[in-house]
Symmetry: C2
Subunit: 438 residues, 2 copies
């Protein structure tokens, strides 16, 4: 990138629908990080790309350039296949808390760099921090050490990891340039690749509570992510899964930890358990396990209690109180106000997924902007799903609030968010598509 | 514009091909000037608009918003119709120096805010400053006073006039978002409307030496500018004219002043005189003069010497030496090195217009970037045009240089820029289109 002429030439080419070479993209990102290309020029380039589209080659080159902007984590030499699992984000979506221990118990090495919740979505780090004492700020050496002994570590990404993505993401957020498959895929995959795992399983969410509302665009994103991962030498697969309604029964930080633990305890079934097993099975397939045996193996690890025990070791290794695994509500913070609500009698026809996530956020479980504090105790329990029969005698939603007034505000809105019908309703499919895994 | 959400919503709408309301556009520009919308957000919006297009309503609203960002000049109450004339820029394009005195002599009041040359194009202010003593920094009150007494003033636009356009233009220049008819038209017309004239004549250049290479896009731009002007209550017209070759015989500051004066003296014919008369006639039509009589009237004002005398008064009013009108080369600075060049015998088939402008700039007549000094004396005389018969015995180009080395560099390149053929060639049309004038 040599000066103003070169960057305006590149912007003009993308504006007119042309393609950038790999060298041009790496030069562009280097120049951006070095402040030789400014935010306005990058925003113009991003907008041109959002409208004109980026090719798969461009997305691959962008991912490589983002990875090259910072440090990478070296997981080589660990005793077992290194695995990472990533969800594009949703409501009640704490499967990593079950999938992680399952895979560790199956002999995989999981060093997962995770994020915090934003908007209507929760974040794994926020959830884990609801366990008293739990620390997420591991140095790369600590992360590696813990993985080698416990098989599982979940930590915050450091500022040195893919710094160009952080800048680009902040820019996209304020310039209307988020909604590009190539930009989303390169952002996701750059962090997975820099994280060092040899096997990457993606859970691409689709529906009202996800960032992508349509299954076709989610499948295209999944395919693009898998292509990028494979071009970078990582065995990569993806499930495209339902987020038209919350996944787990808990929406909130401690609430979701409890759901995960009760699932590991074998006390909970339903879609959350089903998807956790499916994701763990898919990840095992990436490491070479046959599709025919993978599912049975992870079910056995869950039903035997081995994964629950692994979860307790993982919590203890990161400073948390391991008794949470045996008695979640003896350890987790509970909200002072609990209120139940039922929509009446009938079949559940629809649930406003995103809005429920936002309401949990407004109770204090989420944050409106980066840096806000979250309240670990508050949130919602969702006790029915689309296709279930609701009853006036049983709660469909349980509100966990900091105050009566906060609970009351949620109660006011719930009737619009959970719609009943007189006829039976079929539940939506849980998995829409599979890419690179059976 | 209330915060981040509103601006990203507006950007997203334009990104997806939607239209912004007049209120949204005025809010956007106000927020940009107030630094509530940053350069990156504006660059994303501009790129979305360049690709998706802006409607005429959006261009009108943008023009109004730009005008509202700063001061406007009040020309009301002057004794005669107020007129402005603007060229989109070209090579050897000093018609304002003839059109201005002609219109003043015809009873119009011309308060022209002009620019400086940049790149391959010259600027009226640079040309006038080659007259010893000439000042272009008139305060608005001085401008108005001179117009009321001399009928003509040409000055630099102040920083307070359309400041949002200055910021937008600088941003577009570095973000690949110059080439939008709506953005070009709103930039041009906002300055004309803020300049206060009730009648606006545009000369939209087309060809290799112009910013628009194609006649069809130039006609569309002319039509859009006229629509904007008329919606703002200004009687507006446009000619779309040839810039496939330099217009006047001079390319350079003093050289172009001399050509204009010799035209006013009746000593020069050709395309420069023809277009000057056509533009003045078109402007008079905007003020109500019948098309049948306008042309005859301006020819008479030129042939009588009245316009030359008006030019002398105008120069004197702005501090310049008025003797320049009688004896240009007794007053204007001359270059120390003069070299003639001929391509040989044949018909002139093509002239590399933009490159000749750049060569004059490299001799010192122009500037590569804003703020550079210019040399008033240097440049090129172009003594043939496409369709003329060139001769080995007569110069086709005369170089006015500061040094032998500078002249030599131009001589080296000229054979590639002026192409002869054995067959007669038809000259290109001078006027491609007329919008709003006969």
């Amino acid at each position: 990138m040599s000066g103003r002429l070169a960057i305006t030439e590149l912007i003009g080419r993308k504006r007119d629908g042309g393609e950038l070479t790999s060298d041009e993209i790496s030069g562009l990102i280097r120049a951006y990080v070095a402040d030789e290309v400014d935010d306005a020029q990058m925003a113009a380039m991003l907008m041109a790309g959002v409208i004109r589209g980026f090719s798969t080659d461009e997305a691959v080159a962008l991912t490589e350039a983002l990875v090259a902007s910072g440090d990478t984590i070296d997981l080589s030499g660990l005793a077992g296949p290194t695995v990472d699992k990533h969800s594009t984000g949703g409501v009640g979506d704490g499967t990593s808390l079950v999938v992680g221990p399952l895979l560790a118990e199956a002999g995989c090495q999981l060093a997962k760099l995770s994020g915090r919740g934003l908007g209507h979505t929760g974040g794994t780090l926020d959830k884990l921090e609801s366990i008293p004492g739990f620390r997420v700020d591991l140095e790369p050496a600590q992360l590696r050490e813990q993985v080698s002994t416990v098989g599982l570590a979940i930590a915050a990404a450091t500022a040195e990891l893919v710094p160009a993505d952080k800048r680009l993401y902040a820019l996209r957020d304020v310039t209307g340039t988020v909604a590009s498959p190539a930009l989303i895929a390169s952002s996701v995959m750059s962090k997975k690749i820099a994280g060092g795992a040899g096997h990457v399983l993606l859970d691409v969410k689709v529906g009202d509570g996800a960032f992508l509302p349509e299954a076709s665009s989610a499948s295209a994103l999944a395919q693009l992510c898998v292509s990028i991962g494979q071009r970078a030498g990582r065995r990569t697969g993806a499930l495209v899964t339902d987020m038209s309604q919350p996944l787990g029964d808990g929406i909130g930080n401690a609430l979701e930890i409890a759901v995960a633990i009760e699932t590991l305890q074998g006390q909970r079934g339903g879609r959350f358990r089903e998807l956790s097993l499916d994701l763990a099975s898919a990840a095992l397939q990436l490491t070479g396990e046959a599709p025919e045996t993978a599912r049975g193996r992870v079910e056995q690890l869950l039903d035997s209690g081995a994964a629950l025990e692994r979860f307790a070791r993982f919590v203890e290794a990161q400073g948390g109180d391991p008794r949470v695994a045996d008695d979640p509500w003896g350890v987790l913070p509970a909200a002072p106000v609990v209120r139940d609500w039922s929509p009446g009698d009938g079949w559940v026809a629809s649930i406003a997924c995103r809005r429920l996530g936002e309401l949990a956020g407004q109770l204090g479980a989420g944050r409106q902007r980066q840096g806000d504090d979250v309240d670990p105790a508050v949130g919602l329990d969702l006790l029915v799903r689309v296709g279930d029969q609701a009853s006036a005698d049983a709660p469909a939603v349980r509100i966990h609030a900091r105050s009566d007034a906060a609970a009351e505000r949620v109660l006011q809105e719930l009737p619009e968010l959970l719609i009943l019908t007189d006829e039976p309703v079929a539940p939506p499919p849980l998995v829409h598509d599979r890419v690179g895994v059976a």
